[in-house]
């Protein structure tokens, strides 16, 4: 037996070992014709080139996936982003989604929460409860998570600038439920660089923002080992109009900046890197998208191993969440969006995503209705259970086209990353508006191509209908805003004012120094300091961007 073949045998052996502990979903996987589907298909001859570029699932460089058995072992987490209006309403939607077979929560916060304003702040005018749930204090968070056992679900929170505060609230609710910090599972987005680049919910300047992030890394490494401390996101970069190559390059450049900052703060790369997670966009170009995910894994593994000397295999693994591309949804003929979403989601599955959000068809018009949110979830379930796409690992590997695309994306993204490095890294490039300008140019080019009909958007610039029926839309009832003001007022009247004040002044002092801020934020949250009060305390010290 040649050395090369034995590499495959080795992999098989190790995988069998692992499966003894954690068996696959089914005893055997069959096609409709009764043929047994193998766990993994490979070239007949496994040579150095194959091992170098593709390797085996669950092994360096992870091109074929981060798990040994991938979806044969466990399907991806179906995680639908939801949240609107009051904590009570969102809690109801969460319970509905869990009842419908969703396997993880994903919390959408309203913009005041995301930018650290209380609901009654003048800046919050018109925005309270609009794009997500309004959270002002621990009290709202308790209502949001009522009846949901935090030792059973994993919760992803789309929160960046005030990520530390929301994580602190989550920890506090868990403790009240009797669930220890070590057990909670989930992700905070906590990716501030892409906020400056594409999404816009920043508060403080880049430097203190990076400090908050490394403080979270340090705290979580010790205290919440199952919580992903960051979700480094290409999603919004792509939504802002970037190309697939830019999405890859800018995301990984940001990731490099976080790793560098954490190492500089004295953290051990192999301790924090395993809790870094990624978040990509599932866009239209089917094969390019599948290739993009594969390229991202290979690039990250090499960066971590070669540039940062990480030794822990978990540090090399790029685990990611995918959301399909909201910007590809059309307001025209919204039913067509179901089809777009299905194809985008399939590409993400073929690309080996760890979790997936499928958009609802009406999201170009408003927040999804319960019906359309259900169809979106069903779309994932159909891919998982009816198509067979989850029955073998990395089914597109070895396709001349997909492998060529994977190599090409990797090469072009490296070139871009090089340019960012020359500008002094991602933080400097953000400050120079470099990535912002590159994305803006790509977005405008695309729009011009659409208008010249060089790009066809079905139902928009071709195959249009003269008359569009009016779809039924979800409306957020504004009545609750008054109730939210009321709740905030009552809270402020009943809490221990002395305690809040002293917690906030402790936090301020810590922020002026170099101490880790997490314990202070947890203290403040526990005595019901509001998100606005905590954020304003930090604004006083850090300034605003």
């Amino acid at each position: 037996m040649s050395e090369q073949t034995s590499a495959f045998e080795e992999w098989k052996k190790r995988t069998e070992e692992e499966l003894k502990k954690r068996p696959e979903r089914k005893d055997e996987f069959l096609t409709s014709s009764g043929t047994e589907i193998k766990r993994l298909y490979t070239p007949e001859k496994i040579d150095e080139d194959y091992k170098d570029k593709l390797g085996f699932p669950g092994e360096y460089p992870y091109t074929r996936g981060v798990r040994r058995s991938m979806y044969r072992g466990r399907l991806w987490t179906m995680r639908q982003y939801a949240g609107f209006g009051s904590a009570e309403e969102t809690n109801k939607r969460f319970r509905y989604l869990l009842d419908q077979g969703q396997t993880g929560l994903s919390v959408a916060f309203d913009l005041p929460t995301q930018i650290g304003y209380d609901s009654d702040d003048a800046m919050s005018l018109g925005e309270v409860g609009k794009v997500g749930v309004a959270i002002d204090s621990l009290e709202d968070m308790e209502i949001l998570l009522e009846g949901i056992s935090l030792d059973e679900v994993s919760t992803s929170m789309t929160i960046n600038a005030p990520a530390a505060i929301l994580l602190a609230m989550y920890i506090a609710v868990a403790e009240k439920q009797g669930v220890s910090k070590e057990k909670i599972q989930g992700t905070i987005q906590n990716d501030i660089l892409k906020e400056y680049i594409a999404r816009g919910t920043y508060i403080y300047p880049p430097k203190p923002s990076m400090r908050l992030i490394t403080d979270i890394f340090a705290y979580c490494t010790e205290n919440t080992p199952k919580f992903n401390t960051i979700s480094i996101s290409g999603y919004h970069i792509r939504e802002a109009g970037s190309t697939a190559v830019q999405e890859l390059a800018f995301t990984l450049s940001n990731a490099v900046a976080y790793v560098e900052a954490a190492i500089e703060a004295g953290l051990d790369v192999d301790k924090f890197a395993p809790r870094l997670a990624f978040f990509f966009n599932g866009h239209n170009n089917f094969f390019e998208e599948a290739a993009k995910f594969r390229a991202a894994r290979r690039m990250w593994a090499k960066i971590m191993k070669e540039d940062f000397g990480a030794k822990n295999p978990k540090s090399h693994q790029l685990r990611f969440h995918t959301q399909v591309a909201g910007s590809t949804l059309t307001a025209q003929q919204p039913d067509n969006n179901i089809v777009r979403v299905a194809l985008q989601a399939l590409a993400a599955v073929l690309g080996g995503t760890q979790s997936l959000h499928t958009n609802s068809k009406d999201e170009a018009l408003a927040l999804p209705t319960e019906d359309s949110a259900r169809i979106a979830l069903r779309t994932q379930q159909i891919i998982a259970h009816e198509t067979g796409a989850a029955d073998t690992i990395d089914p597109l590997a070895g396709s001349y086209y997909v492998e060529a695309l994977t190599d090409d994306l990797e090469e072009k993204a490296y070139e871009y990353m090089q340019q960012i490095k020359e500008r002094g890294g991602a933080v400097a490039a953000v400050e120079q508006q470099y990535m912002q300008r590159e994305i803006q140019r790509a977005a405008y080019d695309y729009q011009k191509r659409v208008e010249k009909e060089e790009e066809i958007v079905v139902g928009v610039n071709k195959f249009t209908l003269d008359e569009e029926p009016e779809p039924e839309l979800m409306r957020v009832d504004d009545k609750f805003v008054e109730e939210q003001f009321e709740r905030l007022k009552n809270l402020k009247a009943k809490r221990d004012y002395e305690k809040v004040n002293s917690a906030l002044s402790d936090l301020k002092e810590a922020a002026e120094g170099t101490e880790n801020l997490m314990p202070h934020i947890i203290e403040a949250v526990k005595c019901y300091a509001t998100i606005g009060e905590i954020s304003n305390t930090l604004r006083d010290v850090f300034g605003e961007y």
């Binding site: 913009l111 995301q114 930018i115 005018l125 925005e127 816009g200 919910t201 939504e239 018009l365 208008e451």
Partner: protein, 280 residues
């Protein structure tokens, strides 16, 4: 004419500015001066910037659902600052019933997702020019229905119905060699019927009859400034059959628009005020 100045603004806390940035660039390419406020502007800040920059129009973009509160607030503040002459338009994720309500409150126009940037630019240009009172009349509404064109195989065969039963009268019968048609005009109140008979099988009217049979062929609307109007329609993305006016059967300039852009109707625009001979 002074350059049109536009302020593109992001009211509220929404950070999605792809649309705002694309529109800014498109309006610049259309020859306007555009100032973009950046994110997170309160209505007050927007109005202050608009007055300072002396803009003709403000474009508001919101994707967060806060438009129903923030857009009218901008209108209110403009009024209070005695600057209600500044035109306000908007875009973003805005449900159709909100579009109607916002337009009723005084937002000049809400552009929904998928609107070509050219259409937006042309609309703003027109609205601003109207507001300034410049070149008024350039794009006034069509003045009336000049005539309805009816394709017939033979004028002689068709006439008895109009003459004997409707008691109309033939004003003129002319031949238009460029279109290979013979035309009969029958006066009818403020308008006319135009019977069109093909003179050869390659005439556009012959092809029409071959495809659809005899019947209503086109409607003609009388307008002013035909050439400028055609240019404007082209900028707005309307497909034209004739990009420059030609002489019609009535002896005045006409041009056809493509039915594709007009819900399946062949529309003729004509300028009867410019009857050949007394051209300025």
């Amino acid at each position: 004419m002074d350059k049109i100045r536009v302020l593109i603004a992001k009211p509220g806390l929404d950070g999605h500015d792809r649309g705002a940035l694309v529109i800014s660039q498109a309006l610049r390419d259309a020859g306007m001066e555009v100032i973009y406020t950046g994110l997170r502007q309160s209505p007050k800040q927007i109005v202050r910037a608009a007055i300072q920059e002396d803009v003709d129009a403000i474009g508001l973009s919101s994707l967060s659902g806060a438009h129903n509160v923030l857009f009218p607030e901008v209108l209110k503040q403009l009024k209070e600052a005695d600057a209600a002459d500044i035109i306000v338009f908007g875009g973003g994720v805005i449900p159709i019933e909100d579009v109607k309500a916002l337009e009723e409150q005084g937002i000049k126009k809400i552009f929904t997702p998928g609107t070509p940037t050219k259409t937006v630019a042309a609309y703003i240009e027109q609205a601003v020019l109207e507001g300034r009172g410049e070149e008024r009349g350039l794009l006034d509404k069509p003045k009336g229905l000049d005539h309805i064109g009816i394709a017939v195989k033979s004028i002689d065969a068709a006439l008895p119905f109009y003459l004997d039963h409707l008691h109309l009268k033939v004003d003129t019968i002319v031949e238009v060699p460029s279109q290979q048609v013979k035309v009969a005009f029958l006066g009818l109140g403020n308008t006319k019927l135009e019977l069109l008979e093909p003179l050869s099988p390659s005439s556009p009217v012959a092809k029409f009859i071959e495809k659809k049979g005899e019947g209503i062929h086109h409607i003609a609307l009388s307008v002013t400034s035909l050439q400028e109007r055609l240019d404007q329609l082209k900028r707005e993305g309307v497909e034209l059959i004739d990009e420059t006016p030609k002489e019609g059967a009535g002896g005045y300039p006409i041009a056809f628009l493509h039915p594709k852009s007009a819900g399946g109707v062949l529309v003729e625009l004509c300028e009867p005020e410019k009857i050949k001979g007394d051209d300025e």
